[in-house]
Symmetry: C2
Subunit: 115 residues, 2 copies
DNA sequence: TGACCTCTGTTCATCCATTGAACGCATAGA
DNA sequence: TCTATGCGTTCAATGGATGAACAGAGGTCA
């Protein structure tokens, strides 16, 4: 997972659920706690996320990770880049699959609606 | 790139062009010389590739990397696994793209023929 | 109150795959 | 023969990811 994609995913999750802990983020994203911590600190450093004190009965020293206005803008920009790249990856995957099917002599399935 | 995929790609290239050098393989696959060497030696060790002496005017100490019968079988098996996984990846990518389009409020394009 | 427990963010030594410069060697050409 | 070139091979160095361990804050209960 690219650093840019990680930042996007973290922003995405924190916007929807600001009371997530770094351990929860790590488990959800399938990466280590250390890497999440590094990413979150970078987002705070850049002013995209603000860590507010947060106290309730379940969490002991947890923060609320609230997205700043700049954070929302950044998240939207990252989302669009992410989407465009995924579309491109999917197109590239199609070509790779077709090439492999040709090599293997498989009948290529009719996939319509692709450019 | 996974080790398994790398082995497949190396077998694929060597079957089509057995006089490729390890440096050519590295450049084509976008990885380092050291990693290619490690992979090729593993393929030789497992009996999937045999390195025959090869002498011509352009290459000084190059080998001919010929696929053995077992190598051909292995390559076919890897190809099928590779194809199936790529198809699955492409399907997963579609779901991810659709989810992102929904978040972004984009009109989802009509892609037919997918299950 | 105070001792203890729990859960958090934070740190950093460790690991491991990857890299590519450097080497030895074999051949071609002068 | 001697030199240059290009090959496979090696391995010290790099860099990112990991997760155990730590310190701190708040809850709990006698």
């Amino acid at each position: 997972m690219r650093p840019e994609d990680l930042r996007f995913q973290v922003l995405r999750h924190l916007e929807q659920k600001p009371d997530m802990t770094q351990r929860e983020l790590a488990a959800t994203l399938g990466i280590s706690l250390g890497r999440v911590n590094y990413c979150v600190q970078a987002l705070i450093e850049r002013g995209f996320v603000k860590a507010a004190n947060f106290r309730n009965s379940r969490n002991k020293r947890a923060y609320l990770y609230k997205l700043t206005p700049n954070g929302l803008t950044e998240k939207a920009a990252l989302a669009l880049r992410f989407l465009r790249r995924k579309e491109q990856e999917r197109q590239a995957l199609l070509q790779e699959i077709e090439a492999l099917r040709a090599e293997l002599g498989e009948a290529s399935s009719h996939e319509q609606g692709e450019q």
